[in-house]
């Protein structure tokens, strides 16, 4: 797993493990404008999920993984508030 930052977007890839949580936390703190790309994420560890909930961001590209897409993404979107049109 890994995560990359490109064009103000934090892209999570593969299995996002517990060790990632701290780094995600820092990245989000550094850049309040950072958006999320979950399209390549295969699993989100609870620690990382919790971090994303604590600093909710708009989701630029949604998840393809069924579990994340069906259950976690709506919670992340709800936390981020209504989309800006």
């Amino acid at each position: 797993m890994s995560h990359t930052i490109a064009k103000d977007t934090l892209k999570l890839e593969g299995v996002c493990g517990v060790e990632e949580a701290e780094e995600i936390h820092e990245k989000l703190l550094e850049d309040p404008e950072l958006q999320l790309d979950l399209s390549a994420c295969e699993h989100l560890h609870a620690a990382s999920f919790q971090t994303l909930l604590a600093q909710p961001r708009p989701i630029k590209r949604g998840a393809r993984d069924a579990f994340i897409k069906r259950w976690l993404q709506p919670l992340l979107e709800e936390a981020a508030g209504p989309k800006k049109v």
Binding site: V18, E22, H45, A46, A47
Partner: protein, 919 residues
């Protein structure tokens, strides 16, 4: 004692104790809502249980107490000091009665009189407080105060006891499973899918998952657990994750509180979460809880005509028309609105459970008047509705009733037993009502409606009571024939003897035709009937017996090395001996684990002893007019039950001493530059294999000079010894037998036998006592007790060919020295060991045995007594063993030489020396 009484004693003891604690909290903060609710609940339960056992005196007192608390709980009055005093007094009395019940099985003879007085006292307070209410509230008389508590009770019960008391039995909702309100947060699609599955009879479980805060460190991933959970149908956050100060947040502290809905069996569920059962609460799904409206309100009333249409179609079972109307309306409304959500559910319910009147009517009512139906979370409280639901008996307007044939089909199958109607029962009334209705309607059009209505009610009645009606009744096709059939049936019924009991009321749930729906509920109910039991209530004697058996096992295990030795030495079987030893190692490991587990079971927090002290300090400080603050620290520290029991009496002595002798009067304190309020610290902590309890006060401390004087006056020590004594030693004279420095003994701390007893009790229990006192600054006493007392380590020594034991924790070391290292110093024998002079005691001398022939070497056991090393001369040492120490009984107990006896692996008895007493 019968089981019920035994259970009551157990329960009541706990309740009274907790009520007492809550009252003390209330004394400091009379409006603490939590403490108020707590104490109210405890008193309420006491009353209920007491009522069951017909303990009238007890109930009388708690009843008035409850009313007083009720008044305070409702915010109508404040509990002042006199109330708290009276309530505490009531609790003390109840506690005394419970003790009497425990020992004698009945209340004392004067109980009624005492109850009368106490209840009168409380009632006077109650009246005074009711009088103090604002003028806006009309005063409530004592009898009226029952009202807010009144539950649906059998009117006979209170009359029979003649006191108009609500016994409050079985109405305590505290133990009910809370219905999971978060289900409504799941998206509607997920809920509808689950609803359909529930109706199909699938087993669905509602899981409340609170992962441990440190679970990430244990390699646990709650989301992976849920991703892999069987049959996940829904997942949501029960509580939102905090977004406050993200820069300070600890990312590795799990804050998630998750709710999940699973389609699985209980067994599978338990297996999947088998490693984290404590983080999980689960219950079978009540499918109605899924039906929750979502979305924002439209902000305008729903067209009443629409509601009438829907209701009419439903009542006439015009399902197609109903669905069409719903579909049209749904197209008109904003799909994100709350109304649209309600309509979608109506549609769902119409299609799936067209007979569920409760759900249908609730949804319609919510459309009509959302504010009166929805709770503060904008949700429908189904638990309340399901409990309160009784089938509607309103008759539809006759002109709406059509197609009676269709309704008749809903009558249940004939395999059910015939409905038996008892004279005067509600069923009888219901049937008579139908007959009156049928008889009254003479207009043919009205008759048709009345027939339909009566048939429907009869069908409902039959399904609710799971019985069938006579064929003459079910097959009647006109109002007249039905009336006749009913009449015949009831008359015949009245003549025939009643064979089977009939439920007096229709079941509270909406009657359902035999359908898959009934199967669905039956499925979930059987699951609900087998809740997971997480803790046992076991009588302490059983646990102790188990503990004794474990102890015996430990001793029995110790016979194996002896056996191995015999096999080798007596029978010359070295291989067998080796195998026995190998087996011994296995058994040894297991018994150790067993012993540890057993010890864990018997561990109790010291709060069991500590909890009485806030009350003690309060009472004494009032009595003596000394304001005192008590700090209790480390209540959670655990120790074995026996240790806790042993602690109790000495601690009371120490506390009383601190309050009575330690803390000065406020004037004295002020003069000494201290705060007027005295402080006592009661702390507990664990130190290796010991539990340490400390009582520290900031009082006047112990004056060593006064101690010396006193001891001399009492003739406890001679003049020479007084001069030699260090201040510490002088202060420790407080533990000497027959010592008291306060001339006038109060009724609080004793007459100079207290501290002496404290020391003996603690030392008997294998503990130690340490005293540290500074004049003018305070006194600190520390009790050190072993965590566990059941199994002790004992060092074996030989004296005159006999084996004796010495508790291992007293042994500092063993040394063998040439005899010439012993020196005579005045009348004492001493030995120089590592530049320290130790007194030597000859064990033979202590036991009254003859001295042996002088040998070149002496064996010295260095023991520590009250911190001082002493060399005990013995014949020889042997290895240490684990034994169960049994105290001496009968005449041997007063001997003061032996602490106890223990059975050794080879069957011999080991006498364990009581060194503190001997030396």
């Amino acid at each position: 004692m019968d089981d019920l009484l035994k259970f009551f004693v157990e329960e009541a003891t706990e309740l009274v104790q907790k009520a007492g604690q809550s009252l003390l909290v209330l004394e400091k903060n009379p409006e603490d809502p939590e403490a108020l609710t707590e104490v109210f609940r405890q008193v309420h339960t006491l009353k209920g249980s007491g009522g069951v056992l017909e303990l009238h005196a007890l109930v009388k007192v708690v009843h008035v107490a409850e009313n007083l608390l009720e008044l305070a709980k409702e915010g109508e009055t404040r509990l002042d000091a006199s109330c708290i005093d009276a309530l505490l007094e009531a609790m003390d009395q109840v506690s005394a009665w419970v003790d009497a019940l425990d020992t004698q099985g009945t209340l004392p003879e004067d109980a009624d009189r005492v109850a009368e007085d106490l209840a009168g006292e409380l009632a006077a307070l109650l009246e005074a407080h009711q009088g103090s209410q604002e003028a806006a509230n009309p005063p409530v008389s004592l009898a009226d105060a029952d009202e807010p508590l009144a539950v649906e009770e059998d009117p006979d019960s209170s009359e029979a006891w003649g006191e108009g008391v609500n016994w409050g039995v079985f109405d305590d909702p505290v133990d009910d499973l809370p219905s999971p309100t978060w289900l409504g947060q799941l998206d509607e699609a997920a809920r509808m899918q689950a609803f359909r599955l529930a109706l199909e009879g699938e087993s669905l479980w509602v899981v409340d998952y609170t992962p441990d805060e440190g679970c990430f460190y244990q390699g646990d991933d709650p989301l992976l657990n849920l991703r892999q959970a069987p049959g996940l149908l829904g997942l949501t956050l029960i509580e939102p994750v905090s977004r406050e100060a993200p820069e300070e947040a600890d990312v590795y502290r799990c804050q998630l509180h998750l709710g999940a809905l699973l389609q699985t069996s209980e067994a599978e569920l338990a297996e999947h979460f088998q490693y984290i059962p404590e983080q999980l609460d689960y219950q079978p799904l009540t499918r109605e809880n899924l039906i929750q409206p979502t979305g924002e309100p439209l902000g305008m009333e729903v067209d009443p005509a629409l509601l009438d249409d829907l209701r009419g179609f439903w009542e006439n079972r015009q399902q197609e028309e109903l669905l069409e109307r719903l579909n049209i309306q749904l197209e008109l409304l904003n799909p994100a609105s709350r109304e649209a959500s309600l309509l979608r559910w109506l549609k769902e319910v119409t299609q799936l459970t067209p007979d569920d009147a409760l759900v249908f009517e609730t949804l319609l009512a919510t459309l009509e008047e959302p504010d009166s139906q929805l709770d503060e979370h904008q949700q429908l409280d189904w638990a309340k509705r399901l409990a309160a639901w009784e089938p509607s008996q309103q008759t539809p307007a006759p002109e709406q009733a059509t197609e009676p044939d269709e309704i008749v089909q809903a009558l249940p199958a004939t395999s059910q037993p015939l409905l038996v109607v008892e004279e005067g029962s509600e069923v009888m009334q219901l049937l008579e009502d139908q007959m009156r209705l049928l008889a009254r309607c003479t207009d043919p059009q009205l008759q048709e409606g009345a027939l339909a209505s009566a048939q429907r009610i009869l069908a409902n009645l039959a399904t609710a009571t799971q019985t069938r009606l006579p064929e003459t009744v079910t097959q009647a096709t006109s109002a007249k024939s039905l009336h006749q059939a009913l009449k015949n049936w009831l008359e015949g019924e009245a003549a025939a003897p009643v064979k089977t009991p009939t439920p007096e009321q229709p079941a509270p749930r909406e009657p359902q035709p035999e359908s898959k729906k009934a199967v669905a509920t039956a499925g979930t109910e059987s699951k609900a009937a087998a809740p997971m039991i997480r803790s046992y209530k076991v009588d302490h004697e059983q646990v102790e017996q188990l503990g004794d058996l474990v102890g015996e096992l430990v001793v029995a295990k110790n016979t194996l090395p002896f056996l191995a030795q015999r096999a080798e030495q007596v029978y010359g079987e070295r291989r067998i001996a080796r195998e026995i030893r190998e087996q011994f190692n296995v058994i040894n490991r297991i018994t150790r684990a067993l012993q540890d587990a057993m010890m864990q079971v018997q561990m109790l927090p010291v709060s069991h002893v500590f909890q009485r002290f806030p009350r003690l300090v309060r009472d004494l400080s009032r009595k003596l007019n000394k304001p005192i603050d008590l700090d209790v620290i480390g209540e959670d520290t655990e120790a074995e039950k026996h240790v806790i029991e042993n602690l109790s009496d000495p601690l009371i002595h120490l506390m009383r001493n601190s309050i009575d002798h330690g803390i000065e009067m406020p004037e004295e304190r002020q003069a000494a530059g201290k705060s007027e309020t005295g402080h006592i610290r009661l702390a507990a902590w664990q130190e290796n294999e010991w539990v340490v309890i400390e009582v520290a006060d900031d009082g006047k401390g112990i004056d060593p000079e006064a101690m010396r004087m006193k001891a001399y006056e009492k003739g406890l020590v001679d003049e020479r010894r007084i001069k030699e004594m260090s201040d510490q030693e002088a202060q420790e004279l407080i533990f000497a037998a027959g010592f008291s420095t306060k001339d006038a003994a109060t009724d609080l701390s004793g007459r100079g036998i207290g501290m002496d007893v404290v020391r003996t009790t603690i030392e008997k229990a294998g503990g130690r006592l340490e005293l540290q006192s500074t004049l003018g600054e305070g006194t600190r006493t520390r009790l050190k007790l072993p965590l566990s007392m059941s199994i002790s380590q004992v060092m074996q020594i030989w004296i005159e060919g006999q084996r004796y034991g010495v508790p291992m924790d007293q042994v500092a070391e063993t040394v063998r020295l040439p005899r010439d290292r012993l020196h005579q110093f005045k009348d004492k024998e001493t030995v120089m060991l590592r530049e320290q002079v130790l007194p030597v005691c000859r064990s033979r001398q202590l036991l009254g045995l003859e001295e042996p022939q002088d040998s070149d070497q002496v064996a010295l056991l260095i023991v520590r007594l009250r911190g001082e090393p002493v060399a005990l001369m013995v014949d020889d040492f042997s290895e240490g063993v684990e034994v169960i120490l049994k105290p001496m009984e009968g005449a041997l107990e007063s001997l003061g030489v032996y602490q106890g006896t223990a059975l050794l692996g080879d069957g011999s008895v080991l006498l364990v020396l009581d060194l503190p007493n001997l030396l």
